[in-house]
């Protein structure tokens, strides 16, 4: 691998406006990609991994200018392609190609695969039909199909075969970079290995750089030299593959890795379950975007929390921001949280829970212990819960809001090199670094 960079992406953003009314007034934005930086060297495979909806496909289409990026620079061999005019862009298209997820949809059903594979040649100036045919036939053989298939139509092939054709079409103009967007996700598991090994071979033979996008960590591990982990439009960690898998630095990466199903029960460690739903990209959380689900979210100064309990309290706090709690569910599901002493039976036979019982029930609902270890924190929590069950939702909510602020929501972490040697975006690492740099402070 040479030291020069083939592709460098700086501050790439892609926002989609949400409009209302006839005049299309912008009322919000979907921040699909919100500032990503990475680079790819010649011959290298960089993987981008993340849950669906985190923006990884949008990164692919934006950096190739299939959709115009909202902001950012994309430097291909040192030149910024976002400033290219039509002719230059067309030349660029010869050097960077894309493979799509759905092999069936990516082919025009009315064109034979020979015509589809030869189309980029035609577009870029090879008008001699016979010459195109020769090239296509040769290429089809090399991706594992037969030259006789050249006149067949897409519907005559299986998914795996079509993806080979897609690979041929991407190769035919001899690009330097291939962007593969979930290339094996639509295929059967047994075929995936074949296609991946084909891609590996091709890459080695032609010294191609590849940007490999997937939500499947197992596949990423197979194919990529380096991996970038994306969450909600941002990159949270970027590292060489094996190191990432053995020593993940970001809590989100740890959670993702924990979710890989392990067939061997003895190797199944503790899997980390993330609480809450993925926030919407049109309204990302303040500060660190992952803080609403992060198991390692930083507790506020002045309180001593056990990490698990702190996460649960934070869940309660977030839930209360959205509105009053549903006390009915608490009543029915957690009526015995405080013990029998708090249940009374009314005249109509229905059991009624008193306030203490309700508060205990809420704690149980959110996995908070009946008494926190830190007295001050316990006091705050108790007061907030009392307010809640007495129908004074606002005071309870505001109290929790003020007292239990986490630094993670106040500051957005930047992608910085960690002690492990690669970059991650987490305040924990900033803290550790601060402590290392200024040991006297506390």
């Amino acid at each position: 691998m040479s030291a020069r960079t083939l592709l460098e992406v700086k501050g790439l953003k892609k926002h989609y406006p949400i409009t209302q009314g006839v005049l299309k007034k912008e009322v919000g934005r979907v921040r699909a990609v919100d500032g990503v930086d990475f680079s790819v060297s010649p011959g290298e495979t960089l993987g981008i991994v993340g849950e669906s909806g985190c923006g990884k496909s949008t990164v692919a289409t934006s950096l190739l200018r299939l959709e115009e990026p909202t902001a950012g620079d994309v430097l291909f061999e040192g030149e910024d392609i976002t400033t290219y005019d039509k002719a230059e862009l067309k030349r660029f298209r010869r050097r960077a190609q894309m493979i799509f997820q759905d092999p069936t949809a990516s082919f025009d059903p009315r064109m034979s695969i020979g015509e589809s594979v030869g189309e980029p040649l035609l577009i870029h100036g090879i008008s001699d039909r016979n010459r195109r045919r020769e090239i296509v036939k040769d290429l089809l053989e090399r991706v594992g199909l037969s030259a006789d298939d050249i006149d067949r139509y897409p519907h005559e092939f299986s998914g795996g075969q079509k993806q080979r054709v897609a690979l041929a079409r991407a190769l035919v103009v001899n690009p330097e970079l291939i962007v593969a967007d979930e290339p094996v996700s639509a295929l059967d598991v047994s075929i995936q290995a074949d296609i991946l090994s084909l891609m590996n071979d091709i890459q080695a033979e032609f010294d191609l750089a590849m940007l490999f996008i997937s939500h499947n960590l197992g596949v990423i591990r197979e194919v990529c030299d380096r991996v970038a982990v994306m969450y909600l439009g941002e990159i949270v960690e970027i590292a060489p593959t094996e190191e990432l898998f053995s020593n993940p630095q970001h809590p989100y990466t740890r959670a993702l890795l924990g979710s890989i199903p392990q067939p061997d029960p003895r190797q199944r460690g503790e899997s980390i379950t993330l609480s809450g739903d993925v926030p919407s990209p049109s309204n990302p959380p303040a500060g660190c975007r992952f803080h609403t689900r992060c198991p390692d979210v930083i507790p506020p100064e002045g309180y001593e929390f056990e990490q698990r309990h702190w996460r649960s309290v934070q869940d309660l706090r977030q839930r209360m921001r959205k509105g009053p709690l549903d006390l009915e569910t608490v009543r029915t599901a957690h009526s015995d949280a405080a013990g029998d002493g708090h249940v009374q039976t009314a005249e109509d036979g229905q059991s009624v829970l008193d306030d203490e019982g309700l508060k205990a029930g809420i704690r149980e609902e959110f996995d908070i212990p009946q008494r926190l270890s830190d007295d001050e924190a316990e006091d705050v929590l108790d007061r907030a819960l009392t307010a809640e069950v007495s129908d004074d939702h606002e005071s309870g909510r505001d109290l929790l809001d003020e007292e239990f602020q986490t630094p993670c929501e106040q500051t957005a972490p930047e992608l910085r090199e960690t002690s492990a040697g690669w970059e991650a975006a987490c305040l924990l690492h900033d803290e550790q670094r601060q402590r290392v740099e200024q040991p006297a402070d506390d």
């Binding site: 010869r94 894309m98 799509f100 990516s106 082919f107 009315r110 008008s127 090239i135 079409r169 103009v173």
Partner: protein
């Protein structure tokens, strides 16, 4: 470099990585042979049409007046005499005064050839596949044979026979093998007995009150129906595709505006729109075709637009873009062919409507009475229905079967080209 290329034609340059792209960029693209022939044929056609227009066309007289300052003057443009009124082709025994409708018809046939027949021939696998699907519908195949016959007869035969003329010696003859009593009042050519008039082979389908041969009327009627059906439908297709594709591709207010206009045009029932225009403009066949062609495209444009919108969502659209194709290329090479199936089906089902409309107008007496349309003959036959039933019946039968044939074919095409069902 060139010499090395020819040396390695077998081995070297069939590998994709051996393509020297710098060289490809410098060389300008050569046009394939077929395209040259196609463009040449259209150019030739254009020149001939222009020639005829200058000599005989409707605006030739206006041009003459404008240039020379007075009517009746003689003038030549590029060696062509303007507005002489002489027939276009006058080579001894072959005389053909090409009318405006004829030019349109030839143009239509040329377009059909280059854009329908030739692509089918170049793609034999696909053609064979479609044919196999189509063949499953027996009614459609019979219809196709019938229509081909009608087309050929209607197009070629009128070139060699004369227009049906009145013949007062052969009024109201019945068709061959039938008889009718002489109380009909016409002069019978062949009489068997005093009171029975027999048909002859000279007029196999009988004659009208004027003595005009019904077989000839039917044949010329075929030509009229073919001309209206094909020319107007082609105009509809072209306009509808242009508008539907533009609306789908450009989106935004262009889309909104165009579709609103289509909405309005479609709300006006097509029959009455044509009726009103026919009343106001008193059209010749040429003008009638113009009216049908310019105002009948609304429904098809909606189909084109919705199909085009679907296609742009498809990934192969993005794939072509990522390969470096310009938007025009993508529309031409990917959107239009995929939309064409629906267009063909819709068009085939629209043709009978136009033929029927023309026949209805002819029947009502709204169109040019000199055109030997099936509708005029039926209308003429209505007055003596009891005594000479064949005048109204026979052209109607042809009309009925022609429309039926188009409907069968359209239905079968829809199944063959547009299979949504498993």
């Amino acid at each position: 470099m060139m010499a090395a290329d020819t040396d390695n034609t077998r081995r070297g340059s069939s590998r994709f990585e051996d393509i020297d792209w710098n060289e490809v960029e410098q060389r300008s693209g050569s046009r394939p042979l077929l395209t040259t022939i196609k463009l040449g044929s259209f150019a030739l056609f254009g020149l001939l049409a222009l020639y005829d227009a200058i000599r005989n066309g409707p605006f030739a007289e206006w041009l003459l007046e404008y240039i020379s300052g007075g009517p009746q003057a003689e003038y030549t443009v590029l060696g062509i005499e303007v507005a002489t009124g002489a027939p276009t082709f006058d080579f001894g025994s072959f005389v053909w005064d090409v009318t405006g409708v004829d030019w349109l018809f030839v143009a239509t046939l040329m377009v059909m050839f280059w854009y329908a027949v030739v692509p089918l021939a170049r793609n034999p696998r696909m053609t064979r596949y479609y044919w196999r699907q189509f063949r499953k519908n027996r009614a459609a195949v019979i219809s196709m044979v019938y229509l081909v016959v009608i087309f050929l007869v209607g197009t070629i035969v009128p070139l060699f026979i004369s227009v049906p003329t009145s013949n007062f010696q052969a009024q109201l003859l019945p068709p061959v093998f039938t008889t009718v009593s002489t109380a009909a009042g016409g002069d019978c050519l062949v009489q068997v007995t005093d009171s029975v008039c027999r048909g002859t082979m000279a007029h196999p389908l009988g004659t009208t009150r004027d003595g005009r041969d019904i077989l000839k009327l039917v044949i010329f009627g075929m030509r009229v129906s073919m001309q209206i059906g094909l020319i107007a439908t082609l105009m509809n297709i072209v306009i509808a595709t242009a508008i539907g594709a533009s609306a789908a591709y450009m989106g935004g207010w262009v889309d909104e505006l165009l579709m609103r206009y289509v909405d309005i045009q479609l709300t006006f029932p097509q029959f009455f729109l044509f009726l009103l225009l026919s009343y106001l403009f008193e059209p010749s066949l040429f003008l009638l075709i113009m009216i049908f062609g310019l105002f009948g495209w609304g429904g098809i444009s909606r189909i084109v637009r919705s199909e085009a919108l679907q296609r742009t969502e498809e990934e192969y659209f993005k794939a072509a873009q990522s390969a470096g194709a310009s938007p025009l290329y993508v529309v031409r090479r990917h959107v239009v062919p995929n939309v064409s199936n629906s267009i063909i089906t819709a068009a085939t089902l629209a043709i009978p409507g136009l033929i029927l409309a023309e026949a209805a107008f002819a029947f009502l007496g709204l169109s040019d009475p000199t055109i030997p349309s099936w509708g005029t003959t039926i209308s003429a036959g209505r007055n003596y229905l009891g005594t000479a039933w064949w005048v109204a019946t026979i052209p109607g039968l042809f009309l009925f079967f022609t429309i039926l044939a188009f409907n069968f074919i359209g239905d079968a095409l829809r199944d063959a080209l547009d299979p949504r069902q498993e």
